[in-house]
């Protein structure tokens, strides 16, 4: 059987045109996906059963789901400042339960945006976001900027489907309809495909953005000879390209959010795009990583009013990134238990933060053995969302789509595990109050 219009549960492109051949409840062929999407759907070695250990350096022993769930609930119910982190590789339905569990235990809920586009949220709080959908950009954009992002590696079908090579309604010559500009600190594989590669000195993007804003505002006289390693002449040339666009789009990534300036880089990039709207139509959009990290921002915002890093310890949602983000909490040694689900803190936090996780009980809900599993006391395997479970996910541009189920498995879903933990936490808390 070939299942058509399958969505890929890996990156924020959320490609929805895959075809997957399933025989005897096994995926045997995957068509149209990129190498990463194919690898994700084909799958890897699974954690076979729930496991527990008291000492993080000892071997795990297999336990029943009930035992692992009850012990997880006990740890969370008794902890004073639990961190509930991850969420981005799950479906919206389980994220909603995650917010509920956080409320029940008075914990902090944070997602992978914390080490990805968290600063973009702060930049958007400051300046708003002139944006649109990938469909609009695919059909209209004639000047395409990639700033500090490398879609050839991180979003392999992005350039083919949405931004560079695809033919759109007003971009019907495909690649020839568009001018592509890449800003980066190194000549990436994406830069190799650009019309213009602009090499920025590491950590100097903010200055380059400011220089471009000055030029767009007609104040080239205040721009020094070189800014961020780029000559004034080159900056003027790029500014002219941007101003000449009928429809310009800036796609940005970790090159802005993780380097010096962090959220201020986003603030400045949004300002540049806002000001370019005096000359043509211009939009900007973050290149979101996990396929449903955008979904978490939406679910968390409608449940709590905030997109991530929400502290429920006061009984109402409190949000102050820099105080309530995972790495701040870990580095201040405030956390006394960590619940890591649908994201791998162990593989993507600085070693010094992870070492703090090494001192507290860690509960890891994941289909696969991750770096967090190495730090865990309790491991609970679940279904792979979007392969073994259907539900809602949000593409990087905020368009919600229904993920499909391809095969049946016996593992419980994240949502089922969360429901059971919530019920048990209520039982424990009810008994002690």
């Amino acid at each position: 059987m070939i299942i058509k219009d399958v969505l890929c549960p890996f990156c924020g492109c959320l490609c929805d045109d895959l075809a997957v051949k399933v025989e005897n409840n096994k995926v045997v062929d995957i068509m149209h996906a990129c190498k990463i999407g194919e690898s994700k759907i084909r799958g890897h070695d699974r954690i076979k059963a729930p496991m527990m250990r008291d000492n993080k350096n000892s071997e795990f022993r297999e336990v029943s789901y009930d035992e692992a769930i009850n012990e997880s609930a006990r740890i969370l119910a008794n902890s004073r400042r639990p961190l509930l982190y991850g969420w981005a590789s799950g479906l919206c339905e389980m994220m909603k339960k995650g917010v509920l569990l956080t409320e029940e235990v008075g914990g902090i809920i944070d997602n992978t945006a914390s080490v990805c586009h968290g600063p973009s949220a702060l930049g958007v709080h400051e300046k708003g976001l002139p944006t649109g959908t990938l469909g609009q950009f695919a059909n209209r954009a004639d000047v395409v900027v990639f700033w500090g992002c490398n879609p050839v590696h991180a979003h392999p079908r992005h350039m083919g489907r949405y931004s560079v090579f695809n033919k759109g309604f007003f971009t019907n010559k495909g690649r020839r309809s568009r001018k592509v500009v890449v800003f980066d600190v190194r000549k990436t594989d994406t830069a190799n495909l650009a019309d213009e590669y602009v090499q920025v000195n590491p950590g100097e993007d903010y200055m380059v953005l400011s220089a471009l804003r000055a030029i767009v505002a007609g104040r080239v006289d205040v721009v020094p000879d070189t800014v961020g390693g780029i000559s004034r002449e080159k900056l003027v040339e790029v500014a002219e390209t941007l101003k000449g666009a009928k429809f310009g789009i800036v796609y940005f990534g970790m090159g802005l959010t993780q380097s010096r300036g962090k959220y201020k880089n986003i603030d400045n990039a949004v300002s540049l795009v806002t000001e370019l709207n005096a000359h043509g139509k211009h939009s900007i959009i973050p290149m979101r990583g996990h396929y449903n990290v955008t979904g978490f921002g939406n679910v968390c915002a409608w449940e709590t009013g905030f997109v991530n890093a929400v502290d429920m310890s006061r009984g109402y949602p409190y949000y102050n990134p820099g105080e309530t983000c995972s790495n701040d909490l870990l580095m201040r040694e405030e956390i006394d238990a960590a619940f890591i689900i649908a994201g791998d803190a162990g593989a993507h936090f600085p070693a010094q933060s992870i070492a703090r996780m090494g001192k507290v009980p860690v509960i890891n809900i994941d289909p696969f053995h991750s770096a967090t599993t190495e730090m865990a006391n309790i491991v609970i395997p679940t279904k792979v969302s979007g392969v073994e479970l259907e539900g809602t996910a949000y593409r990087m541009d905020g368009v919600s789509l229904r993920m499909r189920k391809l095969v049946d498995v016996d593992f419980p879903s994240d949502e089922e595990v969360l429901d059971k933990i919530i019920a048990k936490v209520r039982e424990i808390k009810g008994a002690s109050s």
Partner: protein, 125 residues
Amino acid sequence: MDLKATFISGRTVDQGCNLENKTSKAYFDAAGYCEMNSADAGKLCVEPGNNVKVTTDFGSVVVPLKICEGNPDGLIFIPMGPWANAVVDPNTCGCGMPGFKGIPAVVTPTGETAPTMQQLMARLK
């Protein structure tokens, strides 16, 4: 015989393909290496595949060397993951985001072996 460099981390296709395969050799091959251009490698007198030690104010890690001519002089890259994490800056400057890019680093040739993911995590517990 050491190289002063600026360190960044980031994604690669192979790192993405092995995100759910982290105990494998394939994940080590995909995320456990350090890239620099051949001029910088020449300064260190190291060949691709030789191990180098990358040290920052926040830690150090041993990984094999790869050449990438797209890197300007003095820019080194380790794919995001446990090997990069050993040397990144946990300080968030009050905005939640640690420093994963633009960290001053020193690279030296070494005869030490590169740790596996499990060995790196074992150091942290």
